[in-house]
Amino acid sequence: MTDEKDIRTPEEYGDYTLIDPSMKPRKGAWKELLQYRSLIGMFVKREFLVKYKQTVLGPIWIVLQPFLMSLAYMFIFGGIARIQTEGIPKILFYLGSNAMWTFFSSSLLSNANVFTSYAQLFGKIYFPRITVPIANVVISLIQFFVVMVLFAGFYIWYLAKGEVAGSWTVFALLPAILIQLGALGLGCGIILSSATAKYRDVSIVIQFLGQIWLYATPVLFPLSSIPDGVMRTLMLLNPVTQPMELFRLAVFGQGTFVPWSCAWSVLVTATAVCAGWRIFSRVEKTFIDTV
């Protein structure tokens, strides 16, 4: 009865959203993401509203936890292992490095299980799935800035004493460095999330992947403490190394800038984001049938 004699094809009725079995990213996906920008904000807000409810210290944990971590690093790596920090006050070195690393690793790890942990929601309603990983990176970034407030307190103190001096030209590049690091975390995170949606093995791997990556990055020691050789080259192939060193260069005036490694890091980031987006778009179409 709806077998109309109409000569118009479905395409000719005007603007439409097409649903088909195609596995490619949908056209107009970016425009749609823009429409859902308040959802990203809501996911971020929900995280902070919900996470610290029914805790005694509440949001103080955001700074307390990295502060205690940095103290621990100070005693273990600075005190016991006697790793030199290029003359930078130890608390500043560890607080800053740890904040940078946590920004990256939480961007990565919070996204690694997106599909499995949001299966319930994804199975009931459509919205651009990528909003969740993006929100997770924004959450990590906000936590980074909160820690930076504490960092700034110490920093100004040591700055006044003349014990540190930043490199202000590099300082201006910090926003770009943070965006790159976040993008790298996002790209790798969504690749991992797509992998965990299919292979549960990956979610076990991820737990120690984070640990190993930490030691393969100059977080608890400066790159300058690694002598030339295979170790150093490997470390320079790690895309997180240069953002970390450039951060130190910016705020402490001490850090190793290696142009090729920097270019490599940007290339890896771009590849991870593009590949991640494609894989993620593919997995989000039907993962709910198998989860």
Binding site: E4, K5, D6, L18, D20, D201, K285, D289, T290
Partner: protein, 431 residues
């Protein structure tokens, strides 16, 4: 109607959805890499089962098997069908939760789907916070929600509790809030999966009229799946019936309901349970039913003045004492009508086969088709009971009832039970 002049809201062409059943993929990375490596080298896949051809139908299920449908703007379309008919799969594809295996669908406008009540609600957040959250998930911007939040709160009837965490809400309040948000979206197409089943009667009515209003005045399109025929009747001006992944009827709502009801009716006078497992909800089966039949009948049509002969055959799985039996009568839509009970009629030993002949009096049933369920049970202290065997059994039809010839029985308003005729004690005519 001049369909040419109308604008479509949804066009579906040859939509199919295949689900893998049983194990999906090889399960582990190692085996998938093995299979992939074998394919790369052009060898036989080591993980393929022998004799396993591409798209072996035994391992997959066509949840949708070629659906064509055009829904026009401003229509309220009901979708009915048995569980597993493909209704939910169709809604999931149209609301873009999962992609189809074949075919296309065109959506002309923004779609809001409510496949569950309060999707994205978080118990720790207040009602107000959840309105923002839920609205954002449904695609509204912050400004849009802000401009409408007073209407939403008023519609939800939550009142002063709006700033209380929703974990303290009753389930009714929860539903009301969720529906209030969804119905205040400005989407052209609304997809609803039986969400009105919860919530009190007056709120259900309010929701239905809100949806009807949205369709008729604002020219929005509503797709509504339900097992509740009354809400389908009230809301929908067109209805499709789905069965085994296909649309078997498309048109008038009353006719559609009739088609759906008739599809559940079988003419057989005997049903064999021997191959069927016990229903999974049965905790302690102690009887295994083998057969139910209407002995001596070759159809299952009865007059309400007849007696329905019913024969049940079963095997005792344990020694039993004082077994009781319920014969439950339901409409084909599985709404209960009434129940016959037989108390403490039998005690027996393990493994003995039993045959029981009964006679049921259908005097109080109106014309129509019915379904029987058989439940054996044991009584405990204080009126409690334990079911020891439950089966969905034969259907039957009452072709002539007490009211026949005098009155067309409107069972959707009056129920399926025809009570005893009223006896007059006295009648005084003042004149």
């Amino acid at each position: 109607m001049m369909e040419k002049d109308r604008t479509p809201a949804i066009i579906v062409r040859g939509l199919k959805k295949e689900y893998q059943i049983g194990q999906i993929g090889n399960g582990t990375l190692q085996k998938d890499i093995q299979s992939w490596w074998a394919r790369v080298r052009g060898r036989e896949d080591p993980n393929r089962k022998i004799g396993d051809r591409e798209r072996l139908s035994g391992d997959s299920l066509m949840a949708l098997n070629g659906v064509d449908l055009t829904v026009w703007q401003g229509e309220t379309l009901g979708i009915i069908g048995r569980n597993g008919a493909g209704k939910s799969t169709l809604l999931k594809i149209l609301s873009r939760i999962t992609a189809p295996t074949e075919g296309r669908a065109y959506l002309y406008g923004k779609v809001t789907s409510m496949l569950e009540v309060g999707t994205g609600f978080h118990g720790e957040m207040t009602g107000r916070e959840n309105i923002y959250m839920n609205g954002a998930i449904l695609g509204m911007t912050r400004e849009q929600i802000r401009s409408r939040i007073d209407d939403i709160i008023e519609f939800s009837e939550i009142g002063d509790y709006i700033d209380t965490p929703v974990k303290r809400y009753s389930s009714g309040m929860y539903v009301k809030l969720a529906f209030a948000v969804a119905s205040h979206l400005d989407s052209e197409i609304m997809i609803m999966d039986e969400v009105l089943a919860v919530g009190d009667m007056s709120f259900q009515k309010k929701c239905l009229s809100q949806m009807r209003y949205a369709a008729s005045r604002e020219n929005r399109t509503v797709l509504y799946v339900s097992h509740n025929m009354n809400t389908i009747r009230e809301l929908c001006d067109r209805c499709i019936v789905m069965d085994a992944g296909k649309i078997i009827y498309d048109g008038d709502t009353e006719r559609a309901i009739q088609v759906y009801m008739d599809a559940g009716f079988s003419d057989s006078t005997e049903i064999d349970f021997s191959g069927q497992p016990h229903p999974s909800y049965l905790a302690s089966p102690r009887i295994r039913m083998l057969r139910a039949s209407y002995p001596g009948k070759d159809d299952c049509a009865f007059r309400s003045t007849d007696r329905i002969p019913l024969r049940l055959e079963w095997v005792n799985l344990t020694d039993l004492k004082d077994v009781c039996l319920r014969v439950e009568i339901l409409t084909l839509n599985e709404d209960p009508v009434g129940t016959y009970v037989l108390y403490d009629f039998y005690s027996g030993e393990k493994d003995s086969p039993v045959r029981l002949d009964l006679s049921l009096d259908p005097a109080c049933l109106s014309e129509g088709s019915y379904l029987m369920k058989y439940a054996f049970f044991l009584r405990g202290a204080g009126g409690s009971m334990v079911n020891i065997e439950c089966r969905t059994g034969l259907t039957f039809e009452i072709i002539s009832a007490r009211h026949s010839g005098k009155l067309v029985w409107e069972s959707r308003y009056w129920g399926n039970t025809v009570l005893e005729d009223i006896r007059i004690l006295s009648l005084t005519d003042g004149k």
